[in-house]
């Protein structure tokens, strides 16, 4: 038998097939990018009646009702102005009884004492509050604290907080600007 050359495979459509496969995988792949607001929950309390007394002037009370309306220290507030309110509240105002008390804390990393506010943000929501609103408020609070961290970082290291690389420096800023947000157990007023 005479040797015949193997018939060549028609590769003309190869490009189309590859292209279709490419499109297929592009469409079916869902890249889950996980982003969000990370928070640390307070550890469980053993003694239920253990209420920590906090002076009134040290607390910024944020209430959200089941209609997603906000009260900040008894007056209507909005998400847009909340970061400013929180920053103003948490800033140091020595000898002003309308603002939180100030205490000194020693930082061995800095080798000196730093004035810290005793202020705390208290967040209370209703069981009927929507999650969307809750996240908006959390976001506004995060914004306020992020900005304060930026300020502290600029003051001590001359770079914005997010540009810090050294873990020790990041930890120091986190210590200097603790996220002082307390979440109360929600009330069931609006009914769910």
């Amino acid at each position: 038998m005479a040797r015949r050359a193997a018939p060549e495979i028609n590769a003309g459509s190869m490009a189309d097939i590859a292209f279709l496969l490419l499109i297929f995988f592009l469409v079916t792949t869902t890249m889950d990018t996980d982003i969000g607001i990370t928070r640390i929950l307070p550890p469980p309390v053993k003694n239920k009646n253990e209420n920590v007394d906090v002076k009134d002037r040290n607390v910024l009370k944020i209430l959200i009702n089941s209609h997603d309306l906000m009260l900040v220290n008894g007056k209507p507030g909005s998400v847009a102005t909340l970061p400013q309110r929180v920053e103003d509240f948490m800033a140091l105002h020595p000898n002003n009884p309308k603002y939180p008390e100030i205490k000194e804390k020693y930082f061995p990393q800095l080798g000196k004492k730093v004035m810290m506010t005793k202020g705390i943000v208290s967040l209370k929501n209703d069981r009927g509050t929507s999650y969307e609103m809750y996240i908006k408020v959390q976001n506004a609070l995060a914004k306020a604290f992020d900005e304060m961290k930026d300020q502290a970082s600029m003051k001590y290291f001359g770079v914005p907080y997010k540009d810090l690389v050294n873990q020790k420096k990041i930890d120091l800023i986190n210590e200097l600007v603790p996220i002082r947000v307390s979440e109360a157990e929600p009330e069931n007023v609006g009914g769910q």
Binding site: T30, I37, P44, G128
Partner: protein
């Protein structure tokens, strides 16, 4: 690349101040939202753990199982990502958070969509 089939409808809320979740292997997910199949399960918000609906009471067990599945050194670094639909009421979310607290799973992440600063 989805790990679970969604049984609840989830549209994440928007936020600007977000962090990325770094180690995916150290993240467990809790889904809360309205059931996809409304005719069968109604429209009340439900919790989904892995591939099934769950009640709030099942969360401690879920936390324990998720911890078991990780190497011992990493167990305390486990983050629970809450993927919650934006129209969910806070009641159920708080219940879940309380259960997580009780089980000492304190590191949580509220999953959001990122939007550019307005």
């Amino acid at each position: 690349m989805r790990e679970t089939t969604p049984l609840v409808r989830i549209k994440l809320p928007e936020a600007t101040q977000v962090q990325k979740l770094e180690k995916k292997s150290l993240v467990s997910y809790i889904y809360i939202g309205e059931p996809v199949n409304r005719n069968m399960y109604g429209s009340k918000s439900r919790i989904q753990l892995n591939d099934a609906y769950a009640t709030v009471k099942q969360i401690p067990e879920f936390v324990a199982r998720e911890r078991q599945a990780r190497p011992e050194a990493d167990r305390n670094l486990l983050t629970f990502a809450l993927k919650v639909d934006q129209n969910t009421k806070m009641g159920i979310v708080t219940d879940v958070k309380q259960q997580l607290r009780k089980s000492n799973a304190l590191k949580i992440n509220y999953s959001t969509r990122k939007v550019l600063k307005k």
